[in-house]
Amino acid sequence: MTAEPHLAHRAAPASTERPVIEVRSLWKKFGDLPVLNDISLNVERGKTICVLGPSGSGKSTFLRCLNWLEKPDHGEIFLSGKRIGYREGSDIPMSAKEIAVTRARIGMVFQHFNLWPHLTVLGNIIAAPLHVQHRNRAEIVAEAEALLRKVGLFEKRDVYPAKLSGGQKQRVAIARALAMRPELLLFDEATSALDPELVGEVITVMEDLAKEGMTMVVVTHEMHFAREAADEILFLDRGFVVEHAPPAQFFDNPSSDRVKQFLQRFVR
């Protein structure tokens, strides 16, 4: 038996608890191109939100605003009640260091994995807990090994990412994100770069996380996952929220024609 890896704080939400992530009226332009228009969203602890929408609708940009990889033009984002990007109760921007500390509380899984090629699988997983969070090495390694078992890759611990399949890389990337003990996990099309036969193994891990009560914002084109695992669906089109609904309503009874049109492409 191995210790269950430490996931997010799984305590039942107290009634007074602020949402893990609170987005208030986010706006973002790239040059003249409006990419996000007045986006708001609350994600309660333990919930999974799927962000859907056609290509170029601003899904990645939205996700990247949540950990300040992109700086929104207007609007506010609160992580567990603390504003991101600006110092407490002021409009003074956070220093690079303060932003880094905030980012370390959020895990991110990328479409193209973005594992660090010079580090082994284990090295990738322990790097940030060790050098950013400065936690105890023995404890981190034990936790990393437990996470590797969880994603079924313990035997790959000393291998370099270049020697892994896409599905294995993405499972390592998820373990890397979990090793930070994040309050929130972001997924940006985590399965889009995978061969179809490898999608399942990654989706399975993501479904388990959703069941275990991880708080997640998931950009995906996997409609089955969105329907089964999401608590809410946020549908973006050209940077606008077109629909924000529970999956049952979103898939079976969408209010907008744009969503109906979008969903038709996924009917098999």
Binding site: L69, A100, R103, A104, N114, W116, H131, V132, P161, M180
Partner: protein, 218 residues
């Protein structure tokens, strides 16, 4: 001719001392020029325009100055500004500064072609500033640029020979001392060349080993 070599062999102690000095001078200069070069590369990639320009001027200046002149200036010229080095420090300082410019340029080139996703993943996980460079970017740069960096190390080894003009007791200096004392130019210099060749083989070996490590990660 055989006699020349046997004379050189009689004085192999001096040659070996010269060899030893060349090796450690080149080693220290390699380390220093890599560290300074990494700092220059960071400056070249920084957001501060003035810093980028200043470093660019320094690098271009270093690349236009013949190394010999730089060594002269550091050893003979700086004392008139009140900065005095002994010949070894002057030699190491000029070698390190001179090659740092090239190292900086090599690392910047590798950095520009490094997929930006690695650094971005680093930032997303809370790395920033020097830690991001040291833990995430620099290792990838070294792996990507090993062969070119290796060439520069060989250049450093060969540049140590210039330090004979400021009387640093390195390999060329000792070889020419032997040759002028006993008039054995062929034997002394061929022996020195053979020893330089040996050093280069060692550098090559390290480069190949590092390349092998890089291959495991590609």
């Amino acid at each position: 001719m055989l006699q020349e070599f046997s004379i050189v062999l009689d004085h192999k102690d001096r040659l070996l001392i010269g060899l030893g000095n060349t090796v450690w001078i080149a080693t220290i200069s390699t380390i220093l020029s890599t560290v300074i070069g990494a700092a220059l590369a960071m400056a070249l990639m920084s957001r501060h325009v003035m810093l980028r320009r200043a470093v660019r001027v320094f690098i271009d200046a270093m690349r236009c100055v013949p190394f010999l002149l730089l060594a002269y200036i550091v050893y003979y010229g700086l004392p008139s500004l009140g900065v005095r080095f002994d010949n070894l420090s002057a030699g190491i300082a000029s070698l390190s500064l001179y090659n740092a410019a090239y190292m900086g340029e090599i690392l910047r080139g590798a950095w520009v072609s490094l997929p930006k996703e690695y650094a971005e993943a680093g930032e997303a996980y809370g790395f920033h500033g020097f830690k991001l460079f040291h833990r995430i970017i620099m290792p990838s740069l070294v792996l990507a640029a090993v062969p070119v960096l290796g060439n520069q190390v060989i250049q450093i080894v060969k540049d140590t020979a210039f330090l004979t003009i400021i009387a640093v007791p390195e390999l060329t200096h000792e070889a020419s001392a032997i040759q002028s004392m006993y008039y054995v130019p062929f034997g002394a210099f061929v022996a020195a060349i053979a020893l330089y060749w040996l050093i280069c083989r060692m550098v090559e070996f390290v480069v190949q080993y590092t390349e092998h490590l890089a291959d495991l990660r590609r």
